[in-house]
């Protein structure tokens, strides 16, 4: 027990540019494999496959005009699934807008993620028993929320830890600085998880900062910073688990917050609205694809005898079924009722808003939906 704590803490003592690794690109073990049983390991694999397949279908739905603009995550499954898996039941994630993979690990139904990108606000209403904050679109603006929410957990003496996701571009924003700085000052149980996918739309990582790593920014806030191979799900799991445990422990002699830089790559576009071939070389994409987290973990699990063709085929079928069912459910969801716009603005409708609603409802009653909707 004590040895385990000691070894997990040592993760934070390495050089900022020395990423934690467990598996190499071929799935060979090059570091300490985390203490997970076979089912937990398969769980990570299954969730990554689910996220990858969901992503491919979502992009395709957008291309077919069945869904609006969508931010793909392909390539980033290892970082999302590995980190979210390291949380305890009562912990929370505070996502940006690309963490569909982390959210599904936390139990957010796929249907909700689809609904959100199909323009239904209800997609963002995470169920009561799912500890996931709503999507935050303005870059880095969710970082202070994670600090404040974890601060609340500290004040109330619960032992919930908050895992906050953001990208490399977000580290240039003021809210990143303010949120992480507050966490350092108040020693909140927060894990700041930077999905450094190399590109903020078309602007490369080097244009965000002259810092050699993003992890080293932790130094300035007096908290721990660590770099991890973000396409190595087991390394991500290990680092996040160590950060979460440290955050949870008020007696730790280290700072409770941690900044994790998970070095990774997005294989696709920033969103379905941009064309990455305009700003980056295909060679670069191909180089990073060799680090794909899914075949890596699969190779390791096969070599350990945990996965075989039959099990992989089962998982493929299961994943395809789950995504197909979610798409069907999302597409058969009725258009939200227009009154929902009004209903949720305040706990109680102010009189003027009630008047606006009544005027709208009366007009709709007289003219029908044809006055609002095309075809």
């Amino acid at each position: 027990m004590y040895e385990e704590v000691a070894s997990s803490v040592s993760v934070f003592d390495r050089a900022y540019d020395d990423p934690v690794r467990v598996l190499d690109e071929d799935g060979e073990v090059v570091g300490d494999v985390p203490d997970l049983d076979d089912e937990e390991l398969v769980g990570i694999y299954r969730h990554m496959r689910l996220a990858r397949h969901f992503d491919a279908r979502a992009v395709s739905l957008q291309r077919q005009g069945r869904m609006g603009t969508y931010p793909p995550l392909s390539g980033q499954e290892g970082a999302q699934v590995g980190s979210a898996t390291a949380l305890a039941e009562d912990d929370w994630i505070v996502p940006s807008y690309r963490e569909h993979g982390a959210a599904l690990v936390r139990g957010l139904p796929l249907k909700q993620t689809l609904l959100y990108w199909m323009g239904h606000e209800a997609g963002n209403a995470t169920p009561k028993d799912v500890n996931v904050f709503p999507v935050a679109v303005p870059i880095a603006s969710q970082v202070p929320h994670a600090t404040g929410a974890s601060w609340a957990s500290e004040l109330r003496g619960t032992d919930e830890v908050f895992l906050c996701y953001f990208g490399d571009g977000a580290t240039s924003e003021g809210d990143f600085h303010e949120g992480v700085n507050f966490a350092g000052v108040f020693d909140t149980p927060t894990v700041f998880f930077c999905n450094n996918n190399q590109w903020a739309i078309s602007v490369p990582r080097e244009r965000q900062t002259r810092s050699a790593t993003l992890a080293q920014k932790a130094e300035a806030y007096g908290i721990d910073g660590v770099q991890v191979d973000g396409m190595d799900p087991l390394a991500v799991y290990s680092v996040t688990e160590a950060a979460v445990e440290k955050a949870r422990d008020p007696e730790t002699d280290r700072p409770r917050p941690t900044l994790i830089e998970a070095v990774q790559y997005r294989f696709g576009a920033h969103t379905t609205a941009d064309d990455p071939t305009v700003y980056r070389d295909n060679d670069e994409v191909e180089r990073w694809k060799r680090k794909d987290p899914i075949p890596r973990l699969e190779a390791y699990l096969r070599s350990e005898g945990v996965l075989d063709d039959e099990r992989v085929a089962e998982i493929e079928t299961e994943v395809e079924t789950r995504v197909a069912e979610a798409i069907e459910a999302a597409e058969s969801e009725a258009r939200p009722k227009p009154e929902e716009m009004f209903e949720h603005a305040y706990a109680e409708l102010p009189p003027e808003l009630e008047r606006q609603y009544e005027e709208f409802a009366a007009f709709r009653e007289t003219h029908g939906d044809a006055a609002f909707l095309e075809e």
Partner: protein, 328 residues
């Protein structure tokens, strides 16, 4: 019979914070210099000693961090009362206010509501440096999902602050610093609330309705008293909440008189006076005897204090506006 204390506006704010913190352990104050220093205007004086550093929190100097952390706390069910030291420094936190404070309930279909009250001293007239005198309530009133409250008396300051803190939705609570210590009122020691969204009639009158709020309530009343000597009988309505506006009170006072003047220190264009005028047009056109007058700050950047007396509406300017409305 409840005991009362004779308090100024800022003391009543402090007392409101004190009673609400005593009533509810989830209420906490955070901001710059709010702890041992007791706030630059003493609005949090003694709270640090009473409730300790976990509930009266001196933060780093970072407005977006203050508002953003309060959003996170409120999402988890605390009732944070962040203070921005002067409303002129709210802009670094503006994204948090409009993108998150205002939208969390809608975005999550009510799973997360934000019971938070963002306090800031606002307005001119105290010979302050640049950026310390503006009145930007219209920005916040324009933002759906927020409520915007501006008290003008010690009694209302305590009661409206309590109502804001207890409200399930986010409130921007702007405190007119010109009248922080201008006069005193009997304020009950016990907790009480003054409802958000209800105006108060400060003076009854049948000739013209004057609508105002915050620090402008006093010169408006002064103008009304002065014109009473000339036989012009003004009704003075203190709006107290600028979002949501008390439409009924506005319409009722206007229908009684058919004439109106709106007074605020914020710039004219796009200000609350325009909204109040529009309400009158929509609801009471046939009662109208004269154009609705607006006596406001000018559409210029707020001047340094050597000129602020020319910028802020005075009783004399308000009287002139009233005469125009009455003599039309």
């Amino acid at each position: 019979m409840s005991e009362t204390q004779n308090l100024t506006v800022v003391q009543a704010v402090r007392d409101g914070l004190y009673t609400e913190m005593r009533e509810d352990d989830d209420v906490l104050v955070l901001g710059q210099d709010v702890g041992k220093n007791g706030g630059v205007f003493r609005a949090t004086e003694g709270l640090f000693d009473e409730f300790g550093g976990d509930r009266v929190v001196d933060t780093p100097l970072a407005e977006s961090g203050i508002v953003g952390c309060a959003v996170g706390m409120a999402a988890m069910g605390l009732r944070p009362v962040p203070e921005i030291q002067f409303s002129g420094f709210m802009y670094p936190g503006f994204d948090q206010i409009v993108s998150h404070m205002a939208r969390f309930r809608t975005r999550s279909r009510g799973r997360f509501n934000l019971p938070m009250t963002l306090r800031a001293p606002y307005g001119g007239g105290i010979r302050a440096p640049e950026h310390h005198s503006e009145s930007k309530e219209a920005f916040y009133a324009h933002e759906a999902g927020l409520k915007v409250v501006i008290p003008s008396t010690p009694y209302d300051a305590k009661g409206l602050l309590a109502a804001s803190i207890r409200d399930p939705d986010p409130v921007i609570f702007l405190e007119p610093k010109l009248i922080y210590r201008a006069f005193r009122d009997e304020v009950p020691e016990e907790p009480y609330t003054v409802p958000i969204g209800e105006a108060a009639t400060r003076r009854e009158g049948g000739d013209v309705a004057l609508f105002t709020y915050g620090a402008m309530t006093r010169p408006t009343l002064e103008a009304a008293e002065s014109l009473a000597e000339e036989g012009i009988d003004c009704e003075v309505v203190d709006l107290r909440t600028v979002s949501p506006l008390d439409r009924e009170a506005i319409i009722e006072a206007f229908e009684k008189t058919g004439r109106a003047v709106v007074v605020h220190e914020a710039p004219k264009t796009g200000g609350l006076a325009a909204e109040i005028t529009a309400i009158i047009q929509e609801e009471a056109l046939l009662y109208q005897e004269a154009p609705v007058g607006r006596v406001t700050g000018f559409d210029v950047p707020y001047p340094l204090y050597a000129l602020e007396d020319y910028y802020l509406p005075t009783a004399a300017r308000i009287e002139e506006g009233i005469r125009e409305a009455v003599e039309f």
